[in-house]
Symmetry: C2
Subunit: 364 residues, 2 copies
């Protein structure tokens, strides 16, 4: 089946119907859908509707509770831990970020660790929830282990992203959202499908040597931490991925390191036993700008920061991008022209429609 484009509204309708079919409330289905389709709109295809079948599979395996009782289990005025009750990470994350924002409204900042959650979509989306409140938003999550610390032959860390959203005045906000591995796994999956070689530095083979085999992480190898190798600072990517794992996993009381449960579509569905904590974890933060200085003055300075960087003299034919700019460009283009889905994703979604007995817009 060949690639075809769909409007955001079409994908939203379909996703909502699927989430409701597996038992989500109307409002939860809407929230989860917005997170997923936003990833597609922003050009992060690996984290959009392509994951829908994975969530449904987790529900089938009874690993996903579609009517969770998400609740604060421990807190201070500026911190807290939330039990996601094995709910959709997409929902749990939005809930946790709301709590962080509420705490920031009360005492200047809010920091929320989460356990018993699952895959939550794109980190940047949750961090961006802080922006309309004139807050800086932070969102971290660990993921199942695909990456080996410097000199390790064992995969102990996930791609463990860091997202930071910072408001500006007239300029669009600064939104950084980055895996702490050299390459996100989604980029490797594209090469796997096309049977193309990976650039040296992205993965190592089962003996720890640099490899161009995009399948290496499934064949005893691993993704490298950001930096690629010791000489180029991979121990820094390892430190960052480790920090994300500890804040998301150890601080929340979730699993951590090699115990982080896999997402259903990531290949393996087996978990390292016995678990050392409760499900998957995340970490969220919100800081009120005016907890530090008046928000208006800050946002005007952010405009100057953004303009200074954007207008920097660049290599001929290139320019300096502001974090978040590539995703905004994709969103403008896809809102206009539609979201392209490859044949495999259309087939998966069509299969879901049949399985759940709902109307398919993906029929071949």
């Amino acid at each position: 089946m060949k690639e075809r484009k769909f409007s955001a509204a079409q994908l939203q309708d379909f996703c909502e119907t699927v989430f409701k079919a597996i038992g989500c409330s109307e409002s939860d289905a809407k929230v989860a859908t917005n997170v997923l389709v936003s990833a597609d709109l922003r050009g992060i295809d690996s984290h959009g509707v392509a994951r829908l079948a994975g969530y449904v599979k987790q529900w089938e395996m009874k690993k996903l509770n579609t009517t969770p009782d998400i609740r604060i289990v421990h807190e201070t005025p500026s911190t807290g831990t939330i039990d996601g009750d094995r709910g959709l990470g997409l929902i749990v994350a939005q809930n946790a970020m709301s709590v962080a924002i509420q705490k920031a409204q009360n005492v200047g900042s809010g920091w929320v660790a989460v356990h018993n959650s699952g895959h939550f979509g794109i980190a940047g989306y949750h961090a961006m929830m802080a922006l309309p409140h004139d807050m800086i938003g932070i969102c971290l999550t660990h993921a199942s282990s695909l990456s080996a610390p410097t000199y390790s032959l064992e995969k102990l860390l996930g791609t463990n992203p860091i997202a930071v959203a910072i408001p500006a005045d007239k300029e669009a906000p600064f939104v950084a959202d980055l895996a702490t591995t050299t390459a996100a796994y989604g980029k490797l999956q594209i090469l796997q499908r096309k049977e193309q070689e990976a650039p040296l530095g992205w993965v190592q083979d089962s003996e720890g040597n640099p490899s161009t085999n995009p399948h290496a992480p499934k064949e005893g190898g691993a993704l490298t931490p950001l930096g690629s190798d010791d000489l180029h600072g991979s121990y820094k990517g390892y430190c960052l991925g480790a920090t994300v794992d500890i804040l998301s996993g150890v601080l929340s009381g979730a699993n951590f390191g090699p115990w982080v449960p896999p997402f259903a579509t990531a290949g393996s569905t087996s978990e390292r036993q016995p678990p050392v904590g409760l499900g998957t974890g995340h970490f969220f933060g919100a800081m009120r700008i005016d907890g530090f200085r008046p928000a208006e003055a800050f946002k005007k300075d952010m405009d100057l920061w953004i303009q200074t960087f954007r207008n920097a003299k660049a290599v001929p034919g290139k320019r300096v991008l502001i974090p978040g700019e590539p995703e905004r460009m994709a969103e403008a283009e896809r809102t206009e022209n539609g979201i392209p889905l490859i044949g495999k994703v259309q087939e998966d979604l069509h299969g879901l429609a049949q399985q759940l007995n709902i109307a398919s817009i993906f029929a071949s």
Copy 2:
């Protein structure tokens, strides 16, 4: 003059005398000395007594106030901004971290941005202040611009380090402290002195091409952000360095980006005019572990985390290091055998003694 070893006590006595000679109080001199000599003990030679002459030079240039009125100028229960009053960054940072810890004691976490400060030594030292309180410590600082964002020909960011300190139970704490550039500038300075080539990927030349010239950043080139090049994720290092700059500079009301003032020993002492904020900035955080879960349970899990990573199967002849372990190994060795100082540093310190009319232990 050849390399010679000195005990920590010898260097401490000398540093304290120097700081007092330029007008610091007894207690400020002690605090500043502890930060500096701790860098030497921990093996980070570029940030120890080698910098002492730089601080004195800033004092001579009337850019350093040795009797600062360091005060909170804006705050909420969990956040605040401190004006360092152009004091020694070493002192201002310890003061700001104390405020963050006090706020965390009160409401679970504390976050402090700082303006009107200067070079503060090693970030990890300040982050580690949180450890005895069963808190996670975070410390960021920007620095004068040496690094070019991905595809930029202009240097817009410093080496902008991130430090995170996390307590464990029986194991030593987790202490990550990393520049967000591929290589710290100190590593390049070592190559400059030895006239050795830099590994490809550390620096770019004045046209943005990879270069092995360790002098490149002073000759129109730049350090690369962590990741080395676009294909290997340098935009992630750029995002991280940018985040550190915004939290340290824009959020605090300090200068930012290319306006961050240079440290006196970094070569140039001229500042981009007119300034866009107040001096150099930093950002500090402290979070009470028991703001999330009981500290004892967390620290036991940290032990398991550390043991799991340390015992991972590794490349033959290598092992997986825990963040902070190399610095602890250096500290044990140097406490035992002394701190080696190269001839150039001994000469600088001897010169300081003559200039300030104090006894020198560095006479040739």
